[in-house]
């Protein structure tokens, strides 16, 4: 009985507190608030000046300090070709998610791409024609702790000379620390978190876009379509949280309101969240948007349940599915009602690969390896292939296995004209140890490939292959003569 009374008392107190919270602000306070805001602005500007100066000092020190690679004890990779042993095999570590809660879809695709890269390198006898490459996979499950353990294992137990891979930022953020700690070259394939390169470690390179680059593209896409409000549905991870915040910030700068809804990776039932978003959408005016920043199979669950719950693409509701929608076979089997969903594709589309023999060869082998003649490689497959090819090319260029030499070789690709031709495009890195990131550029531009293509595509027929989906943004890549195919209609030009 006492417990019930206590519980009742707690509930009453909680209700009173909640009821008291939303009291309207008294009118008199408004003037004070305005004055306070002015004072805040002045103070903020002053603080910003001081902080900027301090950050500049730290960054300058950091750049000078980190140019020298001082490996921690435990690294066992051979530092010269003489130390490679009889077979002369060079080992490269490939951390990828191959089990839940990571995106197994992404991990498997990257594994296939990595194996194709190894075949392409080794069929000519290996690096420099005599040193074959062996990749060691490590299943990180997309988890930070497994990412750290994996990098540690690959470097100290498998004695890899470089790391090339990873899909999830959560794992990648940790792996970069280990790579830096041991002084091992790491080329990140599909990790978008700004922190990966913003830490400005000399060993760390990235060929995927940074979250901020993608956020900028997302915001511009919605802005160009005249969207007034966006629901950002993101996974509660090191990728989803910063990506959603960066998108919200950029949308705000373009005058678009937005709301972030986080969900755990692996969530199955989204019905209540969908109801909540529908409720939100119904009370907004003008065009609305939904942006899915959840990866893997979890995104399929949300997208199908969204349609069933009344959040289907419409003339005034632009629905941007997660990029895994580009895997059309899987997408249509899991989201059968996802017609007219748009999706972001980072990386090339078929039309952009026609003149690139490296891409053509990879695409052909990828289709054979997946036994799916309709499967165009996903962006993460392209990135994994290119990450390994880059490492191999860097070793070949450096004629050395020392990390310092490999970094120098990677940094020597410093312009588009002077870059490395990969399957996705020409790789180059504007800023690094020899050329620090200027003050007016974001810190994540360090060892960052600046040119990843960020396109928006849209399906307009049920079961449509990705090759036939329309590129709707940016304008210069448009393939169907429209910026949005209104549900129920067909595009003016068919690809």
């Amino acid at each position: 009985m006492k417990r019930w009374v206590l519980l009742l008392a707690v509930l009453i107190v909680a209700s009173l507190v909640l009821a008291a919270c939303p009291q309207p602000t008294p009118e008199k306070v408004i003037e004070t608030v305005v004055v306070t805001k002015e004072v805040e602005k002045v103070v903020t500007k002053e603080v910003e000046k001081v902080v900027t100066k301090e950050i500049e000092k730290v960054i300058t020190k950091e750049v000078v300090k980190t140019v020298e690679v001082t490996p921690a004890k435990g690294k066992c990779a051979p530092e010269s070709f003489d130390q490679l042993g009889e077979k002369g095999v060079i080992k490269i570590g490939v951390p990828v998610p191959l089990s839940a809660p990571g995106s197994v879809t992404g991990g498997q695709a990257m594994q296939i791409a990595a194996n194709i890269a190894v075949n392409h390198i080794n069929e000519k006898g290996g690096i420099m024609g005599k040193y074959p490459v062996d990749v060691v996979f490590y299943d990180t499950s997309g988890l930070p702790e497994r990412g750290r353990a994996g990098a540690e294992y690959l470097i100290t137990q498998e004695c890899v000379n470089a790391i090339a891979g990873e899909y999830h930022s959560a794992a990648g953020v940790q792996e970069k620390e280990v790579a830096h700690q041991y002084g091992v070259l790491a080329v990140f394939a599909e990790t978008w978190n700004d922190k990966i390169t913003a830490a400005q470690y000399p060993e760390v390179f990235r060929i995927a876009p940074a979250s901020s680059m993608v956020a900028q593209a997302d915001a511009k896409f919605f802005s160009d379509l005249g969207v007034k409000w966006v629901a950002i549905v993101a996974e509660n991870t090191d990728y989803g949280v910063p990506a959603s915040e960066a998108t919200k910030e950029r949308l705000g700068k373009l005058g678009i309101e937005s709301e972030i809804y986080l969900a755990e990776q692996g969530t199955q039932d989204f019905s209540a969240l969908v109801s909540r978003i529908v409720q939100d959408v119904q009370q907004r005016e003008g065009k609305k948007g939904v942006l899915v920043l959840i990866t893997g199979e979890t995104s399929y669950n949300f997208e199908e349940q969204a349609v069933e719950g009344g959040l289907a693409p419409a003339e005034d509701l632009i629905f941007v599915a997660n990029q895994v929608a580009a895997n059309h076979t899987e997408f249509w089997s899991n989201v059968p009602d996802g017609n007219y969903m748009a999706f972001r594709r980072v990386g090339v589309v078929p039309a952009l690969t026609k003149d690139n023999p490296v891409a053509q060869r990879f695409i052909e082998d990828y289709k054979k390896a997946t036994k799916d003649p309709d499967r165009f490689p996903e962006s993460y497959a392209f990135e994994q292939y290119d990450a390994l090819m880059l490492v191999a090319a860097a070793i070949e260029k450096a004629q050395s296995l020392k990390t310092e030499d490999l970094i120098a070789a990677m940094e020597s690709w410093d312009s588009r004209e002077n870059g490395f031709q990969g399957a996705q495009g020409i790789y180059y890195f504007l800023y690094g140890t020899k050329k620090p990131v200027p003050k007016d550029e974001p810190a994540w531009m360090w060892h960052q490939w600046p040119d990843p293509a960020i396109l928006f595509l849209q399906y307009w027929q049920e079961g449509q292959p990705v090759d036939n989906a329309c590129v709707i943004w940016p304008e210069n890549y448009r393939t169907c003569g429209t910026d949005y195919i209104v549900p129920g209609t067909e595009p003016p030009v068919k690809p």
Binding site: R3, W4, L7, L18, A19, C21, P22, L98, S99, A100, V104, T105, G107, Q108, N236, E259, I260, Y261, L262, A263, E264, G266, T267, Q268, D269, F270, S271, A272, L273, S275, R276, Q279, D280, Q283, G296, E297, Y300, N301, E304, Q305, V307, E308, G309, G310, E330, S333, N334, P336, D337
Partner: protein, 336 residues
């Protein structure tokens, strides 16, 4: 469309602070929608939990492989409908139920019966380890057979186009006024309700059901009156596995299916059976519904939209902790 809840909300002056707390207007229709969605998924939770309850009450063990039977049930339906186009969905569900029953019964005979016969030195630890082992084994076997990529069975049927004003349908959705309800979930809930009714009838109206109840109450007394407790163990484990398999079989058209899909489902079953009272059949039914509704309302009404879905499991666990605190035996548990 749902005037009564709206009037109630107004009368209680809830609108004032609800609208201020949330960034959107809370309406009665919205709350009704959340409750209906919670009930639909809650029925499936109840079906899963009933299986676990049956196993616990008769064998006195907790099966950590319960979620894997749920996973297998879904995969069986997917495989049948994927390979045999036009195969009746209901029949596929029956096949999934039979397959999971057989796997459960065979496993019990081979690995759990030595424990019941007293041939195992530390039975409690043995039960935990052996069911954990089964869980991993089934996950990796299915990973090998089905692969890691998400699968989804085609929906069992699509709604015909109906427009009766208050009731409308699209291919996938039934609209009650402004409330959309997924066709797949409605179908799953109906099958789950039928299965629950069948199990209750079996338990309370048949001799075998009484025998199962007798064994759960007192194994020795049951044996004295001619009931073979070992056979009842096999039947209970098989039925428990079958109920989990049924839950999976009806949900494989609703959710994307991967080999580890059973892990969260299994965790929810544990919460429900403790919430409802270990070994209590009505407890697992009510517990399932409560969990479904609490999760739905919690997600829909939590003030911070960014955290609402991420805290979904927490809402259920708060109720779970409260019930354990106020009534440690669970809602319908036997008094200690």
């Amino acid at each position: 469309m749902w005037p009564l809840p709206d009037v109630l909300l107004h009368a209680m002056h809830f609108h004032m602070w609800l609208d201020a707390l949330f960034k959107f207007q809370i309406t009665g229709t919205y709350i009704v929608r959340l409750i209906l969605e919670g009930l639909l998924i809650g029925v499936i939770y109840a079906l899963m939990a009933l299986g676990l309850t049956l196993i616990f009450s008769v064998l006195n063990i907790v099966s950590f492989a319960h979620g894997e039977f749920y996973m297998i049930g879904g995969y069986v339906v997917y495989a049948i409908l994927h390979h045999y186009k036009g195969f009746p969905g209901l029949l596929a569900i029956v096949v999934a139920a039979l397959v999971t029953f057989v796997i459960g019964a065979v496993f019990e005979r081979l690995f759990l019966q030595p424990m019941a016969k007293g041939q195992v030195e530390r039975p409690s630890e043995y039960a935990i380890l052996i069911t954990f082992g089964l869980s991993f084994f089934l996950q990796f076997v299915m990973l090998g057979i089905m692969g890691p990529f998400p699968k989804k069975a085609p929906r069992f049927w699509s709604f015909p186009k109906i427009d009766l004003g208050f009731i409308r349908t699209t291919k996938t959705t039934l609209f009650l006024g402004n409330i959309p309800l997924s066709g797949g979930r409605i179908f799953a809930a109906i099958i789950a309700l039928l299965a629950l009714a069948a199990v209750l009838w079996f338990m309370y109206r048949t001799w075998t059901g009484w025998a199962l109840q007798a064994v759960s109450q007192d194994r020795n007394a049951a044996a004295v009156v001619g009931i073979n407790p070992l056979n009842m163990n096999t039947l209970a484990f098989g039925m428990g596995a079958m109920l989990a398999g049924l839950a999976g079989a009806v949900l494989v058209t609703v959710f994307s299916w991967v080999p580890w899909v059973g892990v969260p489902a299994s965790a929810k079953s544990f919460v429900i059976i403790v919430l409802g009272g270990m070994g209590s059949i009505p407890g697992s039914l009510v517990g399932g519904l409560i969990l479904g509704v609490v999760e739905s309302l919690g997600t829909g009404l939590f003030p911070d939209p960014a955290r609402a879905q991420a805290y979904r499991d927490v809402f259920g666990l708060v109720i779970f902790a409260l019930v354990l605190w106020l009534k440690p035996t669970g809602l319908f548990g036997r008094k200690l």
